[in-house]
């Protein structure tokens, strides 16, 4: 059984000009939402996470080791920036987001506000 499916759908509100959109997985369970994002090449100190009002912004700058004077021959990752914006729904607690960033994979845990936790409704049979 799940709650409303309106949570954190990929609603890119801002125009992501000049940035790559990182692929994400969003999984919801009874107590909150877990988001995984692939941000390869972004060091920890160049990753920025922001929760403002009900908007979650993930941004990161790519830094690659490359010898000087290297000429690109083929580039599938063609921009040095990642950016993705999500709208959080009301029952999520934006103040209690926890983040873990390891080898280019960001794991965010957004818990549901206490009042929004799943309540089981008993069905009375008369």
């Amino acid at each position: 059984m799940t709650e409303q499916a309106t949570v954190a759908k990929a609603t890119e509100t801002h125009r992501s000009e000049g940035a790559l959109m990182p692929p994400v997985d969003v999984i919801e369970d009874v107590s909150g939402i877990t988001l995984y994002a692939d941000l390869p090449g972004v060091p920890k100190d160049r990753l920025s996470l922001q929760v403002e009002a009900n908007t979650l912004t993930i941004e990161g700058d790519l830094t690659l080791d490359a010898p000087e004077g290297m000429e690109a021959v083929h580039a599938e990752v063609g921009l040095p920036r990642f950016r993705r914006v999500f709208t959080l729904s009301r029952e999520l607690d934006g103040d209690k987001v926890s983040a873990d960033f390891n080898q280019g994979v960001l794991k965010l845990r957004i818990p549901k506000a206490a009042h929004a936790q799943l309540r089981k409704i008993d069905i009375r049979v008369s």
């Binding site: 692929p23 009874v30 692939d38 830094t63 290297m70």
Partner: protein
């Protein structure tokens, strides 16, 4: 068959042409294996007069789980990325599922002048960086006129 080039405003055709030009500019002649776009991991290839640099964007792996092979001038990067999707019996819902999971393998044909004994591979922040030296003889030399 209608050629894309007949439509000068076709952005994709322009991009392809640009890519072709770039490949031919630096000893990267179109290879029989091609260099198909897309797939996992994403690849960037660059070159300097002394080396060929390959960046593979494979976040979230244990470096020991990535297999790199270089046979003559064909480079293969393979491995597996485990899925983090919940088990079915879990009471959870998957809203977005975009990240790659499963086995991957990508093959790139490198120029012939590389030295297969001088390869260096590093994994940092989810990027595998492979640097392959080129043979000295292939370095362009300035010829002085007597």
């Amino acid at each position: 068959m209608i050629y894309k080039a007949l439509f000068p405003r076709d952005v994709l055709a322009e991009l392809e042409r640009l890519q072709r030009d770039m490949q031919q500019a630096d000893g990267f002649l179109p290879s029989i294996r091609g260099l198909a776009r897309g797939g996992f991991p994403g690849l960037n290839v660059g070159s300097t007069p002394k080396s060929v640099e390959v960046h593979a964007f494979i976040p979230g792996l244990d470096p020991s789980a990535i297999e790199i092979q270089l046979e003559k001038s064909v480079l293969t990067i393979a491995g597996e990325r485990k899925s983090n999707m919940p088990a079915r019996e879990d009471k959870s819902t998957v809203h977005i599922d975009e990240r790659f999971a499963g086995k991957f393998r990508r093959v790139i044909a490198l120029p012939d002048d590389i030295n297969p004994d001088a390869v260096d591979a590093q994994y940092r922040d989810g990027v595998l960086h492979i640097s392959i030296q080129r043979h000295e003889a292939a370095l362009p030399r300035r010829i002085t006129i007597q």
